[in-house]
Every structure is written in C-alpha cells, then in structure tokens.
C-alpha cells in the first residue's frame, strides 16, 4: 500500500510524549559545565571597563570570558550558498561575540560566565561589573530616521525590493492618480517574536584529533540550518568544514528562529575552547527576546487604483522597516503584491532603518505575513468603495498566470479554494454593509483574504542504505522542527523504494549527513523528497542490475525499464508474478547492504513555470465594542498545496499557521523601551501567544491535487501559508462587524476603546 496520502501518526510521536526524544538542552554529556550570558545594560556605546574579579572568585566559576580575553575569531563569509549574510538585504549579524568593546543593542553578550553548575554560573553572572561609555541610541523609526533602500532580499536575483511594472515610478503613479476608484492608507505591524516552546540551546565540545594536528568541534544545537552553521562555525574558528559537526535531532519549534543566530553557538564554542570543557548554554526566555531573532515592525503604505468595474490598474506598496545596528535583514513585504493578483502597473519599494535593537530575521512567512495583511486589508477597503463583494472583487483580478513574469503556474486551483471556503463559513449570509449583524451585545462580522506562498525548491541530497534484511535507512542533513519531517520524509522514501513504511527509518539532524537546505521557505518537503526520489531510483537500479545479471534470478536478462518495484520486491511489469524480493537479491549476492546517493536541484521546469501554493481563508468574529474584545467564532481555510503526503501533519501545520495568524491579528506584540532599548515585553506572560480560548475550531481543507511539475510526489510546501492572509481575514471581519477600520496590529482592547478628549487629557503626575 502506498503510504503517501495516509494520515500516519508521527513516527517520533511516542518518543516525544514519553520523554524519549532528547532535546538539546536535555542532553547530559559527561563532565558538562554551564555557561550564562551577561547582557549589555545599555543599547549603544563602548565597554569602558569590565570587572570580572568578583565573578571569578564566586564558587564554581571556571572562566569569565569578555572581549578582552576571549579567543579571536575569523570573519564570517559575506555570502553562503547564494544567501547574502552581511550588508543590506542580508540575513545574520555583522559582528561576532566578545571580539570588541562596541555595544549595538541592550542585551548584547558582553561577558560569558562558565561554572560547574548552572546555578553557580547564573549567580556569578550577576557579579560581573561592566562600565560603558554610552552614546545616544537610535531606537525609534520615524520620518527623520536615516534609511537605506536595499536592492534584493537575501541578495537573491529574483527578490528585487525596489521594482516597478508597466513603466517607471512616475508612470505608475500617473496611472494610479488617473484611476477612477482609489484607496491609499498606512498600515503598521509591531515587532513579533517566534516564541518557540523550546529555548535556543547549544552544547559545545572540542576534541583534538588523534591523527591530525587540528581539532574537531562538535555542537549539539537547536539548529535548523545545519550545513550553513557548520560552514560558518568552521570559518570563524579557522577549521576545515569537515571538522565541525552539528547535531540537531529534535527541535521544539523554530518558526524562522534557530536558523541564522550563529552567535550564541559561537559563544558556547568559544567558551568550550577557552576552558577545554564541554559547555552547555541555554537561553532564558527573556534572552529569547534579545538573541533569537524577531520580526521587525513595519509601516506600509498601500495604494490601489481600480476601474469602476473593479479591474485593478495600479498598486503602490511602500515598506518602511528596521533592523538592528548590526544586520541588514529586511522584512520583504512587497513579495506577495507582485504575484497575488493580476495588475498591470506596480511600484514596490522598501526602506530600512537601522536601530539599536535586537536583530530581526525571518519569521514564519517573512514579508508575506505583514505584507499580505496590508494588501488584503487594502483590497477589502477598495472592494467596499467599489460596492463589490470582497470575494467577487478578488475573482475580478484573478491571476491566471504569474503577473510578475507571465509564466504559467505549475498548478493553480485557487478558485476552488474560494468557492469551498465561502461554503464552509457561510459567506452568502454576509450582508454587504458593515455593522449589520448582532448576537446579544456582540457585533458580528465576516471577512476573507487570499493566501499564497511560493513553492521553492533548493538543492538537497540523500543517502539510502538498503540492508539485506529488507529495511532501509535514509539520511539527509535536514531538520524536523516539530512539523513532522521525520514522518513524511519516511513516507516519501517508503513509496519511492517500494517498501512498507515500517521498514524505512528516516534519519536527519546531523551535519555529517548528505547536504540539505535550511528548514525554511516551506521548501523542505519539495527539496528533500526530490533527493530521496533520486537516491531511491539509484538504489532500485542497483538491485535490478544485480538481478538481471544473475542466471538464477527470475529477472535474469530482463530490461531494466521493464522492471517495477513494490512491497520489497522487483517484478516484471508485463508479468508481475515473475519477480524477486530485495532480500533475496542481496543475500544471493552476499551483500549486507547497498548504498545509493541521490541529489536533486531545481530543474528546467523552474524556467518554464511559476510555483506557488494558494488558499483562501475566511473568518467570522464577535466584537464587544464597549470592552474592546474580539473573539473568533470560526475560521475556515481551504488550501491548494499540491499533493498531501500526510493529511494529519498537514492539518496540524495549517492549524499552527492559522494560530500564528490569530496571534498576529489580535494579541502578539513586543515592545522595547524607547529610551533604553530594553525589552518591556520579555516573557510568555506578557507576549501573548493565543491561548485555546482565543482559538476557535479551525476548519482546514486541502484540495490534494498533485502538482504535475514538482519533482517527487507533487507536494508543495505548507509550513507558512497558514499564517498568510489569516490576520487580514480576521481584521476584515472586525471591520465588517464594527464599521471601523483598524490599520494597526494587533487589535487589542486598548486600540478599540478610545478615550474621549476629556478622558485623554494628559495630566500625568509630574
């Protein structure tokens, strides 16, 4: 039986619920010692003096590392595997820890205390005295902030951040100005944090190689970018890449974090080097708001001009966002504007302000999440102005081909998503006017949005070891962030090898395994499946060659193209009764196992087609206008994500994405003090991830139509599409309920219950 398409329970589920899955921070290696980071108290300036003596005298302390005594590091590369790391548009930090006196943000590591126990290290960390020559920080993005205009997101050629379509900027603006129906507003989104359940953690140990003069660095790390961090760690410590090994078998959520935060693993490795000990570093939840990445705040201008009949003529989308003083990372909000609807005239621009705040990085649907919120809110506003149903308006501007380059889509069934989603929510019950529906004291409203996420593929490799007992181990240096990669990649391998799922074990999370891309961009399934398929083809070919060459085999002298494989057996397609089990072939040829390698990269189909997943998300909300509460009565999302490998993990992924969208719409926001840059929201009591009470029954459906152009089983990624569009569907529903348009996220009671002039008189205690 094919395992693809089956709702298989997570193969690692039992380990996880019984504690058998060991996460990085839980690993108890021999002779472990513990490191604790001392963070800068100021956001900007230079360290004048560090007095580590009281900490060094504290019980159990082995070492206090500072910029004065830490081992020196070599610079990180400016680019890695086609991803820009340094400079505007890059991802990552342009500094290395404890190498200089400069301070760029509050919380930046300025010392690292290593002690025999965690408690001793934590206590000693409070004794390190650091004096600063502080300089005035830049902490607020405003009109006067100095901004740059990065050219490309991550330096990728196809990710231009400044672009026009249908003429130059003046021409596009001219078309907008001449459009009969226009909307133009500013939309703002706050800083958000990934907030995975598992904090970032590293264990580092150095071993001097017996046969070589060099040393081997091993890291157990909460890492979703094994090969990238392996290269970076090797480079900064001046080691051959093969001398760095990173192990990351279980990740307790990442959502975009844990990919490009190499400075905390480097810090841990530095301490292991300086002490000659095995050092464990686990960030505190408070440090997760400083050292583990974030989504930057955005201010977006969104202007749409349309014909009276609803055809969009021009869109102007400006993004102003920020990074830290030591990163050029930019939230690429214009991404979906380019591809979501058919539109002839377009201008997108992105401005980046560097602030003395912690460094942002990708967070689930980077760019798409805030960008689509602005876009789909503006679409809702224009639909109302046009007097059109929001869904009809979107269909009027349906993109039959990729509007960016005119290429056909590899597979697009968005119209079916709209139709089914509208049925699920009861869209036909929605009055066209806002503030028309009540249930008790609640105002009720319906909203919708389109969702989209590009279906990327990146180079990946896999190795299959097929044993004489008929079982297979498949390896790739990919990651399971908690999303089910272990399970679905085993399903892919089982079908590709013609083996029952129970005979296949998928191994990941080790940089010694064949290359795989970072777990991001919803591209793991596509990329690694393609490699598994290649390796499987090789493995089966080896079996066939062994069989057809052997006189005693029923398949002797058969042509390879005539041979099929299933259920652990090769057979003649024209006569399936004639065949031989894999185990028999290997035993007869006295092989314990065969090994097959496969590698896959984006093929010529990428030139011919555009690849995306699509969906439509609908929401019904209840608003208590006097108490400022918004509760979601219902969310329904229908998605076209290609073939569904595992309906169960698929549903969980989409539920989780929608949960992220609920948080984005209603509750999640991080705030830093505007004078000191210190985090004011810094734990999960105050950073409000939606609770179950904020989450309605989420209805998710997938069309399950295989993408004929995607290698492997025809599955596109779905890790991120769930968040995209969800926030807009919710806030559009809030507008429909209240008749009031809120253009700033999240939609908290404080925004909805506005003081009167008399109440807001500023008579602050002075």
């Amino acid at each position: 039986m094919e395992s693809i398409g089956q709702p298989i329970d997570r193969l690692d589920g039992r380990l996880k619920v019984t504690g058998g899955a060991r996460y990085t921070a839980e690993l108890d290696l021999p002779d472990l010692v513990y490191g604790v980071i001392v963070g800068s108290t100021v956001p900007s300036g230079r360290i004048r003096q560090v007095d580590a003596a009281p900490a060094e005298r504290a019980p159990g302390v082995l070492k206090v590392l500072t910029h004065e005594n830490a081992p020196r590091l070599l610079p990180i590369p400016a680019e890695l595997s086609g991803i820009r790391l340094l400079g505007d548009g890059g991802v990552g930090e342009e500094y290395l820890p404890l190498q200089a006196a400069q301070v760029y943000f509050a919380g930046q590591p300025v010392a690292f205390v290593v002690a025999r126990t965690f408690e001793q290290a934590r206590h000693a960390a409070t004794l390190v005295r650091v004096e600063y020559d502080a300089v005035a920080p830049k902490l607020v993005m405003n009109a006067g902030s100095m901004a740059t205009r990065p050219d490309k997101f991550l330096g990728r050629p196809d990710e231009a951040l400044q672009a026009t379509r249908g003429g130059d900027a003046a021409a596009v603006r001219g078309v907008f100005d001449a459009s009969p129906v226009r909307v133009s507003h500013t939309y703002t989104t706050p800083i958000e944090h990934h907030s995975p359940l598992e904090m970032s953690a590293t264990i580092a140990l150095w071993v001097r190689m017996p046969d070589r003069a060099s040393a081997q660095l091993t890291l157990y790390d909460t890492c979703r970018n094994l090969k990238g961090n392996q290269t970076i760690l090797a480079q900064v410590f001046g080691l051959p890449t093969a001398n760095v090994r990173i192990v990351s078998q279980f990740i307790g959520g990442a959502f975009g974090a844990k990919g490009f935060q190499w400075n905390t693993p480097i810090l841990c490795a530095l301490a292991a080097k300086a002490t000659g000990r095995t050092v464990k570093l686990v960030l505190t939840r408070q440090q997760m708001f400083l050292l583990a990445g974030q989504r930057a705040a955005t201010e977006q201008g969104y202007a749409i001009g349309a014909e009276a009949g609803g055809e969009i003529r021009a869109v102007l989308h400006t993004t102003r966002t920020h990074s830290s003083a030591i990163s050029g990372y930019i939230e690429p909000c214009g991404r979906t504007t380019k591809i979501l609807y058919s539109l002839p005239h377009l201008e997108i621009s992105h401005e980046l302000v560097r602030l003395n705040l912690p460094t942002p990085c990708p967070m689930r649907a980077p760019g798409e999440a805030p960008g689509t919120w602005a876009q789909e809110t503006a679409m809702d506003e224009l639909a109302e102005k046009l007097g059109m149903d929001p869904l009809t308006f979107r269909l009027r501007n349906y993109a039959d081909v990729d509007p960016e380059n005119g290429k056909p889509w590899s597979s697009k069934h968005l119209k079916e998503c709209y139709t089914r989603g509208a049925e699920l929510i009861g869209w036909d019950r929605r009055p066209s006017q806002p503030r028309r529906m009540r249930e008790g004291q609640y105002l009720v409203g319906y909203g919708m949005a389109t969702t989209i996420y590009p279906a990327g593929q990146r180079g990946a490799a896999a190795r299959i070891i097929l044993s004489a007992d008929g079982s297979a181990v498949v390896r790739s240096a990919t990651h399971d962030q908690g999303n089910g990669a272990y399970t679905i990649l085993a399903q892919v391998a089982a079908d590709a090898l013609g083996l029952p799922l129970a005979r296949v074990r998928f191994e990941l999370g080790d940089s010694d395994f064949p290359q795989a891309p970072p777990a991001g961009g919803s591209a793991t399934t596509v990329s690694v499946s393609a490699a598994i398929e290649q390796a499987s083809t090789q493995a089966k070919r080896q079996l066939m060659e062994l069989a057809v060459a052997e006189v005693s085999s029923p398949l002797y002298s058969a042509k390879l193209k005539d041979i099929g494989a299933s259920n652990g057996r090769l057979f003649l397609r024209s006569d399936p009764g004639r065949g031989e089990e894999y185990t028999a072939i290997l035993r007869r040829t006295q092989r314990k196992h065969i090994t097959a390698d496969g590698e896959a990269k984006p093929g010529p189909e990428r030139e011919a087609f555009s690849f995306s997943s699509f969906g439509a998300v609908f929401a019904k909300v209840r608003v208590d206008p006097e108490l400022g509460t918004v509760r979601i009565a219902q969310v329904a999302g229908v998605y076209d994500v290609g073939r569904v490998i595992n309906p169960k993990t698929t549903r969980s992924q989409l539920h989780g994405g929608i949960g992220f969208g609920i948080g984005m719409a209603l509750t999640e926001e991080t705030i830093y003090d505007s004078r000191t840059g210190r985090a004011v929201i810094r734990d999960l009591a105050d950073y409000h991830i939606p609770s179950m009470a904020d989450t309605p029954l989420i209805t998710v459906e997938t069309l399950d139509i295989a993408d004929p152009q995607i290698p492997g089983p025809g599955a596109r990624g779905l890790g991120e599409i769930g968040i995209v569009g969800t926030a807009a569907a919710i806030t559009n529903a809030v507008y429909h309920a209240t008749g009031i348009r809120y253009r700033s996220l999240p939609l908290t009671p404080a925004k909805m219950v506005v003081p009167t002039a008399a109440e807001s008189r500023n008579t602050a205690t002075t």
């Binding site: 206590h123 008790g440 108490l627 509460t629 705030i671 929201i681 009591a685 009470a693 205690t765």
Partner: protein, 351 residues
C-alpha cells in the same frame, strides 16, 4: 540569582522562629511568582523558610458563618470549594480568571495577596525602580506605561497590583488574619491590607516584616457577587482592567453594593461612593454609567494608559449590569466563563 539557604518549617511556631532568627529571610509558599523574581535577581533573600507544609491549608466554616480560607489553601482549592462556589461565586470567578490551572494549583492564598507588580521596569534590574530599589527613580513614569495605574499613583510609583483574586476579596470585605513574629495575632481589614505607593512604593502591604498570614476570612454574605476581567488574550493574561461587584438586592432594589476595580491602582481600588449611590435604587444603566463616571473622576492618564479610563468605566457598567441581572452572565456563575469579558473563541457566543 542570589544564593540562599533553604529551611522548611512544619508549624507556625517553627516558621516564626526561623524568621526571627534569620536575616533577610522570606517565607516561601507556592513560589509561583517569587521564584521567577529570584531567578531575575529582583527578589534576593539570603534564606527562604518553606511554609508549604505548615498546616494552614484548611477551608473551614466558622460558627459565626465566616468562611476561613487557610493561607496555604491553593487558589484552585478555594475556587472550586462548594461553599465558595455557592456563596461567593465572584471570588471563584476572579481566581479562575487568573493564571493557569497549573499555577493555581501551586499558588497559595497568602501568596496571592503578596504578588508583586507586573510593571516591566520592576522586573528588569538594569532599570531604575523605586519599588525595587527605593530612591532610584521610576522608569515607568516616562516609559512604556500601558499597564500602569490611573488612580492613586504617586510620582514615585505608578505600578498596579496584578491579582484578580484580591479585587474580589475587597468587595467581600475579607479579613486577613496575621501571626506576629514575636507572638500574638492581629487582623487586617482587606481594604487596609494593600496600600497606595505614596513615598514608600517598596511597601505593597500593611504586613510588617516577619508577619505570617494564616488565613483570609470571608464574612457571611448572602448577596450576589461577580467578577469581570478584560485582557489582551482570552485566557492566561493579566487584566487590563477588571471589576468586582458584591450586591445585595431587596426585591428589585439594591440594598447594598460594593464595587472594586483591578489593575487601575497600586491596590484593589474600592469605589468608595458606589455603595451610597446605588443603595435603595433600582438597577439602571444610566445610574451605573453615573457611578462609573464618578469612579474615574480623579483618574490621571499617562502617555500609554488612557484607554483604561473608558475601558474601566465600560467594564464597571457591564459588571453591574450582569450582577444585577440586566444582562446575562457570559457563563455559569463561579466559572472563568462568567468572568471572561468577550467570552471565548468558538461558535457559541455564550459558553
């Protein structure tokens, strides 16, 4: 984290003995808030005396009708106690509106009274805070003061008291029974237990050093009580504003009324005139609105917390509407559904 000695007391006498002998010693009960503050180096005792096993967890109905809630009773034990559910549903609603089941199972009655503020500047040792280090200044005054006080604040401190439970205890006229370290007992009226910051924001309560809370006593009360909480997520969030109401009706007329506001001041804020204004009147939205306007007449908004004034008024009106029966409760009395403003997500508007 500051190193500390850990002792365990098994009786009240042992607990007081340890406190008398110790220097910079603190009691430890549930520890749900205290341990967090120790990890962050905000609370730095040299020694802890664990009183968890001191037999103060009983919930007893005294002969005079007073319900005695032992200081070590867990928040959940109190909330789900049949007598609390029956006679003081507003208290159950307040407790169940707070924290999570796990935290409420650990948190004690006495500890809940002594929770420290959620002001972010209090919890960050790199920032000036008069409550944490008297005389250093108040970072919140000109900072991110979204969750701060609009009533009764001083220039030294604008923190709010974070407890839900205490707001309900304020309208139930509870009494706090206290054992003095040198022997002897005293009783503190709940309204006098917490204090306004004034010039000594480091002092949250009237409790003197070394004093041990032994119980919280609820006078017999036959009226209705109710708690209503507005927060930024539907569960597991501190209140933006909250309101507790205790109401005795005589026919369709209000006989007595007590109203308190949470998260607007350094202490649970009793609306002093509410009783007088409501007494002898029929429940009426305009009357409630007038009481609400009056309750906030001295409110002083800061840069980021102005919303608390209209939101507090609206919540006060709504709580009175729901308690007096002019509007339905959002869920069964005595449950978190009744106290959750806005209800919970899902198909059903009323849980």
């Amino acid at each position: 984290m500051h190193p500390f000695r850990y002792d365990r007391a098994l009786t009240v006498q042992e607990a007081l003995q340890s406190i008398r002998n110790g220097k910079n010693t603190a009691f430890l009960a549930g520890g749900t808030s205290q341990i967090d503050l120790m990890k962050e180096d905000v609370h730095r005792p040299d020694a802890l005396v664990d009183i968890k096993r001191v037999p103060l967890a009983g919930i007893l109905l005294l002969p005079d009708g007073v319900l005695r809630l032992g200081a070590n009773a867990s928040n959940n034990d109190v909330a789900y106690h049949p007598l609390v559910q029956k006679q003081y549903p507003g208290l159950a609603e307040a407790i169940l509106a707070g924290a999570s089941p796990q935290i409420r199972n650990m948190a004690s009655m006495g500890g809940n009274l002594l929770q420290r503020t959620r002001c972010p500047y209090f919890r960050d040792t790199a920032m000036a805070c008069n409550k944490r280090e008297p005389g250093t200044g108040c970072s919140a005054l000109e900072g991110i003061n979204r969750v701060h006080a609009v009533l009764g604040a001083s220039e030294k401190c604008i923190a709010t008291h974070p407890s839900d439970m205490c707001v309900a205890l304020a309208v139930l006229d509870a009494l706090v029974q206290v054992q003095k370290p040198g022997g002897g007992r005293r009783t503190i009226r709940f309204r006098d237990f917490h204090r306004l910051p004034g010039n000594e924001p480091q002092k949250d309560s009237a409790l003197e050093p070394g004093e041990l809370i032994t119980s919280v006593d609820l006078p017999a009360f036959a009226g209705r009580s109710h708690y209503l909480k507005v927060r930024e997520r539907a569960s597991y969030a501190f209140a933006l504003v909250s309101v507790a109401v205790a109401l005795e009706m005589e026919g369709d007329t209000i006989k007595t009324a007590r109203v308190a506001l949470g998260s607007v001041a350094h202490k649970p804020w009793l609306v002093e005139d509410a009783g007088k204004r409501l007494q002898g009147k029929k429940p009426d939205v305009a009357l409630f609105r007038a009481v609400a306007d009056d309750a906030f007449k001295d409110a002083k908004p800061l840069e980021h917390n102005g919303y608390k004034i209209p939101l507090g008024k609206n919540t006060l009106v709504r709580a009175l509407m729901e308690t007096s029966g002019l509007m339905p409760l959002q869920g069964p009395a005595g449950t978190a559904f009744a106290s959750s403003a806005g209800g919970v997500a899902g198909d059903e508007a009323v849980a």
